[in-house]
């Protein structure tokens, strides 16, 4: 019977819409805490920060290279631990088209300079004074490392300490052909 069939479809449609809406609501709430502005596969938000030598680093200038962003602070112990590893692997991969940009969390120039000389850092270090880049990348826990491929896409987001092995693997995955 046509009328009956139509009723069936209408009811199914209404219930389906409601279930989808409720399901979406519950799903979004459940995953709210883990929401990252930054999704793997998405375009890495462009930014520009000035390093301690006064040189401006703009992410889009590094297109064609694999870029690692590393968010850190001097008070963060795992950040300190991974610095030598980053330094070593940077030396290895530098000539293979890998750039490391290390982003400090709004600390003083004095502290950052001391830190650089303590660890003898070879890669550029910039200070995110207004925390706008940190916010654009939705970084909440330190250290956080973002690996960006030569086309500007986010390939990997890593929270926590990195070892040399991990760095070697991740660098290889983003290095230009």
């Amino acid at each position: 019977m046509d009328k009956k069939k139509r009723r069936f479809y209408v009811r199914t449609l209404i219930l389906a819409i409601l279930v989808v809406a409720i399901g979406y609501t519950i799903y979004t709430t459940a995953t709210k805490d883990e929401v990252r502005l930054l999704k793997v596969g998405a375009e890495a938000p462009d930014f520009s920060l000035v390093d301690l030598d006064g040189q401006t680093h703009r992410l889009s200038d590094y297109k064609g290279k694999g870029v690692m962003l590393n968010f850190w602070g001097t008070w963060c112990k795992p950040c300190k631990k991974e610095m030598p590893a980053m330094n070593n692997q940077y030396k290895v991969f530098k000539d293979q088209g890998i750039e490391v940009l290390s982003i400090n969390q709004a600390q003083t120039v004095f502290e950052v300079e001391n830190f650089i000389s303590d660890f003898n850092l070879k890669f550029p270090v910039v200070i995110d004074k207004t925390k706008s880049v940190t916010r654009a990348y939705n970084v909440n826990n330190l250290p956080a490392s973002i690996f960006i491929d030569p086309t500007g896409k986010v390939v990997r987001v890593h929270e926590g300490e990195l070892t040399e092995e991990m760095l070697a693997e991740f660098f290889s995955s983003i290095k230009p052909e």
């Binding site: 209404i14 219930l15 409720i22 609501t25 519950i26 709430t29 003083t108 502290e111 001391n114 207004t130």
Partner: protein, 562 residues
């Protein structure tokens, strides 16, 4: 599908209790009642008629008023249990690893279970949202199932109803009358009812006067309001509709505003004022504790900056000033749909520390040094011939680890320094580690020391950044809801039927969904004017006769408003 064929020949869908055309009772149950059940005009409630597929079964479940009421009660009880312990946003987590640990420590096993069940953050727990969602489905399905047939039935109602229908109305009258008298009574009734703003329709030998039909839509309108409201709340979870973030900003700082891309805020000053003694009432001053304890003002003077549209994050070279104003409690800075509220503060965070370079023996000062903790320098000149070199700075000194001083955070809660002091007497330099209430001389005893003399502090403002695009939707939902309640409460749907029978009687019947007292006033007026037979209230009669049955009747009345 089965049809029920009425005596009048009309085919009614299954489940109908009163014939759609003439109003005669169709079921045994309905026939056994003295008065007709007019709640849904005797139409078939859709859900009750089909029950074949799984979809029908789900539909019927949600269509039930009993189920709806049960969901409401469960929701209420759950929300009630949610008040047993503080919700997670009001719990200080600083001392604990996470919220679960905090609940366990404070409330034991009960707290642990409470947290695991999601009661500690009840509005975000999946099962509470499921309940609310089910309530939404119930509201929609139950309204559709009842509202649509009711609408159709009222839209298509006939003027001429069967005598059985009229007899079974609460208000009924019957009187012998000649044809001419009856015609005259019809004319007069029409005139009087029109005067009282009723719509009057006449068919051969029958009259229907009706007023305020829209009053029947009240409950459905307020359900629409509720659904709009729930939809608005749901929208808050969609990106871009709702932002609620916190920004801690220190005096003199310029920070990116979280959730508000391309905007920066500079805090110029935070002010916390209390009432002075003479501004307060005497009773306040009597208590020592209360003196100066009453807050008068919390205020952050800010500048709002916007970066050019093509600027990327971090590029603050071309900021333009948008607004400069104080943010005071309840007086937020509003811009472009965003509002910045004064919410919190911390007073007296260390900003600059002053030291004197003194000879330990003579306590003679060679001069002073001011260290700006937001921008320490490498070298400070003291007097003409001396200098202090700052080697290291630890803003939040937390002890030594492997001989290395550690800082626990970037905040200047417990600053510590390593100085090297050069004076004409000690040209090679003397190293000293200086923390609050602690001086170490790691490389041997020194002749000079850095003596702490004073601090400058600054205040920190806690601001809330908020954007809420759903507010208008919530407001609309609220207005529609109230509109429905008002319509349902203050208007009533009144009808009067007249029927001229072949055997020379004039029948009158009347129905209203509420406020029978006013209906009767209308009826009294028209009865007198048109010389209609005297009516009786069959419900009143019944009540007098059946006082014992009163209780069960009251039960039936519940749910009348659905």
């Amino acid at each position: 599908m089965k049809k029920i064929i009425c005596e009048c020949g009309h085919e009614n869908p299954e489940g109908t209790t009163l014939c759609e055309k003439c109003g005669s009772p169709l079921t045994e149950e309905e026939k056994s009642k003295k008065l007709a059940d007019m709640r849904y005009e005797g139409t078939a409630i859709r859900s009750k008629t089909y029950n074949k597929t799984i979809i029908d079964k789900i539909w019927n479940f949600f269509s039930s008023v009993k189920v709806g009421v049960a969901i409401i009660i469960i929701t209420l009880v759950a929300a009630g249990i949610g008040t047993f312990l503080p919700q997670v946003i009001y719990v200080s987590l600083t001392e604990y690893q996470d919220a679960a640990a905090a609940y366990k420590a404070a409330y034991g096993t009960f707290g642990s279970i409470y947290y695991k069940l999601g009661l500690a953050d009840i509005y975000s727990s999946w099962w509470f949202q499921t309940l609310i969602g089910m309530l939404g489905i119930s509201i929609i399905v139950a309204s559709l199932d009842r509202g649509i047939p009711l609408y159709k039935s009222l839209k298509n109602q006939r003027v001429k109803r069967h005598e059985n229908f009229l007899k079974r109305q609460r208000i009924f009258a019957s009187g012998e009358m000649s044809a001419e008298e009856a015609d005259k009574a019809f004319d007069l009734t029409e005139a009087k009812m029109k005067e009282m703003k009723y719509n009057v329709r006449r068919e051969e030998g029958a009259l229907l006067a009706e007023k305020g039909r829209f009053a029947r839509w009240g409950p459905y309108i307020n359900h629409v309001g509720l659904i709009i409201f729930l939809f608005g709340v749901m929208l808050r979870l969609m990106p871009g509709f709702y932002i609620d973030k916190t920004l801690w900003i220190r005096e003199g700082e310029t920070m990116a505003i979280p959730g508000m891309e391309g905007f920066y805020l500079e805090s110029k000053k935070f002010t916390f004022e209390t009432y002075s003694k003479d501004e307060q009432k005497e009773e306040f001053n009597e208590s020592k504790k209360a003196v100066n304890a009453v807050a008068k003002n919390y205020q952050t003077d800010v500048k709002l900056f916007k970066a050019p549209d093509d600027a990327v994050p971090g590029d603050t070279s071309n900021l333009t000033l948008v607004k400069e104003m104080p943010i005071i409690v309840n007086k937020p800075l509003k811009y472009d749909g965003y509002a910045l509220y004064q919410m919190d503060f911390r007073l007296n965070e260390l900003k600059t520390m002053h030291f004197d370079l003194i000879d330990k023996k003579s306590e003679k000062s060679l001069g002073s040094v001011a260290i700006d903790l937001t921008n320490p320098e490498k070298e400070y000149k003291v007097g003409k011939d001396s200098k202090v070199v700052l080697k290291k700075y630890f803003p939040d000194f937390a002890g030594f680890e492997d001989g290395e001083p550690q800082t626990a955070s970037p905040l200047p809660n417990n600053p510590a320094f390593i100085f090297v002091m050069y004076t004409p007497e000690t040209p090679k330099g003397e190293t000293s580690f200086v923390a609050i209430k602690q001086t170490l001389e790691p490389l041997g005893t020194t002749k000079y020391k850095m003596k702490f003399s004073a601090v400058d502090t600054r205040n920190v403002s806690g601001l809330t950044v908020r954007k809420d695009k759903t507010l208008m939707i919530l407001m609309l939902g609220g207005i529609v809801f109230m509109l429905g309640v008002t319509i349902g409460s203050y208007w009533s749907h009144r009808r009067l039927w007249l029927l001229k029978t072949k055997d020379g009687r004039l029948l009158m019947a009347s129905h209203t969904n509420k406020n029978w007292f006013s209906m009767k006033k209308d009826l009294d007026a028209v009865t007198e004017y048109a010389h209609l037979p005297v009516y009786v209230d069959q419900h009143d009669e019944d009540q007098k006769a059946e006082d014992a049955e009163k209780k069960s009747k009251d039960k039936e009345k519940e749910g009348d408003n659905i």
